[in-house]
Symmetry: C2
Subunit: 275 residues, 2 copies
């Protein structure tokens, strides 16, 4: 029988020499003979078929161990259908995992490109806006505003698929309260069902005074002050709840620099018609 040196066999099969030695060590593809004097490996022509089968299975993402086990008990495609199906399921799972990550990445990219767009060409003046009704998932709570984090997480986990806008807060108190505040953490959603203390509903639109606040959240009272003063000068009255929309807050990954946070405050006018 014709036999080839490891280099010749490597060229014929495309498997690197290192790999051939490794496969021997792994009991996967043994040389036909080894010269006891100098240790040279010689591969017979029959090893070519086996090498091709190994390459096929490796290219289908079977591990070396799996290939070894498959080769031990099979010599026809029909014999390994179960393993092929299992591998397929495994690949489907892996693909799902990767596409989930891709979705997350796309979400972050979209979020940031929107924020970037918002940053350019913004003025920090009070303006009157008309807002449309909006479907949200909300979670009402009492306490300090800064404790809203877990609630946002909870909403995000529950409604992650259906999110349709920036996170928001509805504020049911007349004035800013350091603690014991009454507020509702919410996220716009395309659809979804209420569950536990999370309520999906539509909040009405209307006319509001809007002010974009730039900076950390503990400086929000200053911006509220500007709004109250503005309203007082013009004899306007506000309806509850008012809203905060977190245009740019802590990122999905980094907390970011609070000096660059952007929060839109929306104070709805009392006599505006709400639809």
């Amino acid at each position: 029988m014709q036999h080839y040196t490891i280099g010749e066999f490597s060229k014929m099969t495309g498997l690197p020499v290192k790999t051939l030695r490794f496969y021997q060590e792994q009991d996967l593809l043994l040389p036909s003979s080894v010269d006891p004097a100098n240790g040279y490996r010689y591969y017979g022509a029959d090893r070519i078929d086996r090498a091709r089968v190994i390459q096929s299975l490796r290219s289908l993402e079977f591990s070396v161990r799996e290939v070894r086990e498959l080769l031990a008990g099979a010599d026809d495609d029909a014999d390994i259908l179960g393993a092929l199906e299992a591998k397929n399921r495994q690949l489907v799972n892996e693909t799902r995992r990767l596409t989930a990550i891709q979705r997350a990445l796309a979400g972050i990219l979209k979020h940031e490109s929107e924020a970037r767009e918002l940053m350019s060409g913004v003025d920090y003046e009070i303006e009157e806006k008309t807002i449309a009704a909006l479907k949200i998932a909300g979670l009402r709570m009492k306490g300090a505003y800064r404790d809203c984090g877990p609630s946002f997480s909870k909403l995000g986990r529950r409604y992650g698929r259906h999110l349709a806008g920036k996170p928001m807060m509805l504020i049911y108190d007349e004035s800013y309260r350091e603690s014991d505040a009454d507020f509702e953490v919410c996220m716009p959603v395309k659809r979804g069902d209420s569950r536990d203390d999370m309520v999906v509903r539509e909040i009405p639109g209307g006319t509001c005074l809007s002010l974009l606040h730039k900076g950390p959240y503990d400086e929000l009272p200053r911006s509220y002050g500007r709004l109250f003063e503005y309203a007082k000068e013009r004899g306007l009255e506000f309806a509850l709840p008012s809203r905060e929309v977190y245009r740019k807050g802590p990122g999905m990954i980094f907390k970011g620099n609070p000096k660059r946070y952007l929060t839109e405050i929306q104070m709805f006018l009392k006599d505006s018609e709400k639809k």
Copy 2:
């Protein structure tokens, strides 16, 4: 400042102790202080944020090295958009690779399940069949039948996406020839364009005698003999080219056992109308 032992910090962040030590070694997440007397690590509260960022980035399939480099130059999601996009592209490629493998696996599974179905309930008698016209990609060649392998590979590579049936051969000789035969290797396709010496065209249907040959290809002459004898008894004449359809041949992975190969021989009748 509050500081935690490695075990406490591990529970708070969900990162295993081993991982925390590893991250220190990798200069990724250093303890706030290390007791020089006993080597105990202590983590300050500020390390929690960093740990969370690291977890986020790791869960997005960034390597430890990448995370280290990102953390060195960024503190806001907006700073790493480029890296996120690059990672997204990388994941898209990986996903494509995996889905390509899944397609290959699905193809093999389909092929084998068809073969299995064929195996059951088959008789090896000559029967008369009417065959419809069929679109194929063909590659005509002269030589020995056994040299058809590379041609099948070539067709498979070129028309892989559009394959629509089992590989076939058209035989233009009157009788079986060991060498110097004139035949055309072909694959049914849904669509495709001719290129080089590969020709896409429709071959006509018609009435034929069909015989399922079981066993290795070098035993085909015996089955041809049966067909010729059958035709002679009945005064039938054959038209060229005749066809072989490789119902079950070498698998995609294993060569398989030639004793189980199934080849359908189709000899078209001279006076049958061809459409």
